[in-house]
Amino acid sequence: MNLKKYFIRALHRLQKGPGYTYKELLVWYCDNTNTHGPKRIIKEGPKKKLIWFFLTLLFASLVFWQWGILINTYLSYNVTSSLSIGFKTMKFPAVTVCNANPFKYSKVKHLLKELDRLIEAALERILQPAPWNSSENASPPLDLELWHQIPLVLIDEHDKNNPIILDIFERNQTCVDNQTFVGNETAAGNETAAGTEMACSHQGSDNCTYRNFTSAAQAVTEWYILQSTSILSKVPLQERIRMGYQAEDMILACLYGAEPCNYKNFTQIYHPDHGNCYIFNWGMDEEALNSSNPGAEFGLKLILDISQQDYIPYLSSAAGARLMLHQQKSFPFLKDQGIYAMAGTETSIGVLVDELERMGYPYSDCTMNGSDVPVKNLYSQYNTSYSIQACLRSCFQNHMIETCGCGHYMFPLPEGVNYCNNEDNPGWAYCYSSLRSSITHRQICIDSCKETCNDTQYKMTISMADWPSEASEDWIFHILSYERDMSTNVTLDRNGIIKLNIYFQEYNYRTISESAATTIVWLLSSLGGQFGFWMGGSVLCLIEFGEIIIDSLWITIINVISWCKGLKQKRAQAQYPDAPPTVSELVEAHTNLGFQHEDVSALPRDEALPPEPGTPPPNYDSLRVQPLDILSPDSDAD
């Protein structure tokens, strides 16, 4: 019923045409809008109208411009950082301690026997002034076959264009023709002969690279690492763990706060660089320990024995413990973040936890748990959380497996792949060294790995003192020896013993946390502020404006329809070329028999009548009421 009424009204309205014009609509809008400018346009004299018109236009454009800036700012997703520093009860960091040397020499001697003999012979040959043509008098014959793939050579560059290459294990001299030097020794005046290692691929003798070193010590160490890596990679993991340092041998004393702890509180983990490492407070099985007091008395105190006498002489030349503080459930990357502790000293480490909490996408490009990183995390087999170091290493290992067909000994293995060794993968050293020095591979890994959103670092303040003191040395060694070996003799010495104190500093955290600088609330209030500042407007004004647009569209539609109608009528009238006769003409036609045309000017017109200025039309209500009654219900429909 209502609908029908509504349609009838609409129809009537269409037939009637628009009740008002654009100008009327605009004037009405200006007079009634809540924005401040337009009202002024119609209120005052023509000069002011003009000024106000331009002012309103200017302010409107200013508002839109500033809105653009604000929206742009919002879409750039800025963050604000807040910093807080102080002390609070925090989880004590996980502490990983390792020995700088991975295996006990006494336990791996049988594997490295051949290699050690070889390197001793090599050193002898290097150090002797002119051994190259003298007769060989090394007593045991060396099995050179295994080491032949990666020979140690000496490059004599007295003559730059014709360097002489001396193979240390053979006695022939070769001239370099088509091999490429990894590091180029092209500068003049390099008179010293360099002890140089050569890595040569197995595929063909012309596909060789020389890795050269200016120092023989460096060359020998690198060569030894390559060879021992190859040997040890064949040893099963259980055996390797057995060959390393055992917790009960290494961790002599432990005290956390006032509570005693021992080696059983440490979790063993096998680290390829450092052998057996032990992690305190890793939080894998049990709750992480809290520390609620600053100072050394409430931290972790450890006494370690690194038994320096049992080091592998050629593998690592630095002696000490390697330790690292890291978050619970994260893998310790000792080569990156680890620090040394020197034997015969007490090392005190004050810890400040430096946290950075970031917002994820779209504010910054970081990952919450590494699930969105396109690299298979090989360290997840340790049940550890994602970290950028883990990602980079996994990325490298994946590349290595792709290109060389075997995994590098320093990184964990995916399923079904073996570690590289000289027998099964003769060319691996060449493959590895070219991959390692390849910039593009590194860049690929850097690009595909993302950092974590919550970054925690442990800032350490390290100080050292001699320990034990000369006066206390005797009894400390006696007690520690007794506790470890149940012997009354001193089985320890200064070169093996390390004391560590790890504790929170007075201020133990510094947290930088991000929050969004521009929220939707901020955006709305800024938009409102701008609109209000220039024009005193609000959302309602925008709705008003929308209303006006709808109204003017309505007018347009009605105008178009009536124009069409007019066109139709014109076409209908066009059938009669002359204008239709008026009533008076018809009457005249009947009365004026002579068909005389009446003179129009003879009629009394405006100029003939006296002027009536300001006379309003008569206020006969009967005249006005009726047409208005027809109109009024329609105008309500707007």
Partner: protein, 652 residues
Amino acid sequence: GAMAPGKKITARIKRTLPVKGPQAPTLSELMRWYCLNTNTHGCRRIVVSRGRLRRFIWILLTLSAVGLILWQCAELLLNYYSASVSVTVQFQKLPFPAVTICNINPYKYSSMKDYLSELDKETKKALETFYGFSEGKSKVRRSVNEWNSTGNDFFKQIPLLKFEDFSKTATDLHSGQKRKIEGSVFHKDSSIVNSGDSNDIGFQLCDANNSSDCALYTFSSGVNAIQEWYKLHYMNIMAQIPLETKEKLSYSADDLLLTCFFDGLSCDKRHFTRFHHPLHGNCYTFNSGENGTILSTSTGGSEYGLQVVLYIDEADYNPFLVTSTGAKIIVHDQNEYPFIEDIGTEIETAAATSIGMHFTRSRKLSKPYSDCTETGADIPVENLYNKSYSLQICLHSCFQKAMVDSCGCAQYAQPLPAGAEYCNYKKNPNWMYCYYRLHEKFVKEQLGCQQICKDACSFKEWALTTSIAQWPSTVSEDWMLRVLSWDKGQKINKKLNKTDLANLMVFYKDLNERFISENPANTLVILLSNFGGQLGLWMSCSVVCVIEIVEVFFIDSLSIVMRRQWQKAKKWWNDRKRDRSGKPPQAGDLERQGHDNPVCIDEDLPTFNTALRLPLPQDNPLPRTPPPNYSTLRLETAFTEQLPDTLEVGQH
């Protein structure tokens, strides 16, 4: 009608935009009109409210709103130049910093003999006479023998004194004479002037031109006194040696660097740039960027950083100048000057020092947010160093400039300004006294250097985590030393000692670059938004209101006042002209038009409906009765003119 087009246009403008002045006749009318028609909310209430109390309350509220707006906007303006800090962490390939390495001992003692033998002899002699010991009898005996022949220039110049009796009297340690002390006493060791100790030892520096003006420097320990005294003479001697000679006297790259390894590849002395430091002799900078390329690291960890083994020839150390053994290193940007004496890290011998770096870049906003300088170009101190600006550079340059200005020569530890030369006794006998005076002023901030110099707006920082391991380990010591001795080559025949060696590893702990930057907390857009928010919140006001206020209170009111005055003047003139004529015409009646015209006042704001309707019948009587409507035809035309709408309806 032959008017120029310009005139035509002006005439037309005059016709369409006549200059009329405000429509309100009086100020109170104008105010009433303003309050009724303004866009701000409070004003209308004041006029519309009935009752005095209510009106008063509204006036109070409006005024307090205005006050609040002014206060809040002032706050906003004051806080406009505040900065917010943002921290971004980016994981990326990082440029490796420059690493400058120096031996702690600046020059080979053996080669310095020619220059220092006299001084050393006197120092040894002094030690023997003051403290009664000798460090090797044969040496001392020889020096005693030579004592008389060489004279005692150095002691004459600056005598060492032992102070007694609350620094009132002193014994000259060389001649044994007692003398009375005049002048001020400076304690180099402590800032507290205690002088209760009778063991104070020190020296006296006097103005050469005016010997009564003396400054006294005392030290609580003879170790410091002797070292300080030695250093004074040492600098004096070194100032006379040309740079080329000094470079030869110091260590060469071959001397210092035994092995070098960077990013898995071998490197050698060609990767190092020599840099002569006045106090540390020849230093070597790795990755100085001098040949245009700066190395970068794309992997963190100790294997991928810089690893060097340094040869520290402990036997060739100057016993009086330096008392510790080792090397000093500093990690810095390629454009930065390494202030190794100020902020260097010391490296122990017979140990492997592992230095993990963490890179932080900071950026401050310059003026007007904070008082820092971008390039240092706006600082009126000439940069004597050939490196980019830093606060340290500015302070040193400023001091050096003051030194040249007041003492006439330059201090040895800092670079030379153009046209100046280093101080030495022969040319500037007075320099030491001058230097100490000046330095004291500098420390007490009386030279104005601390006020002139500003900190740089952006700086890079490498936070270092240093740890030490024993090196070489006991089992590897033997072969390691043998091979390194072989490496050292033909120059050294002796086997190296492990206390002559230091192993150093400098590497990135991670490749996270932390970038701390200040950003403006407010932009103009936000400031305006906040203004708008404040104005809108308290009074629903906008810039339009402000313009209204300007228009009404300044332009309109002023012109009303002017018009009043003009009319008064005119009336007075007219009265005077024809004072016999009766009462003046009533201005009020004539002016009753414009806003005040009752016909124009529309209490209700027009709505859409009323706009379409005919004017409502007004309460007030029509001005005149309409003339009789004789002609029905004309009535119709009047309707058509006024009401096209009704006409149309009528036609249909």
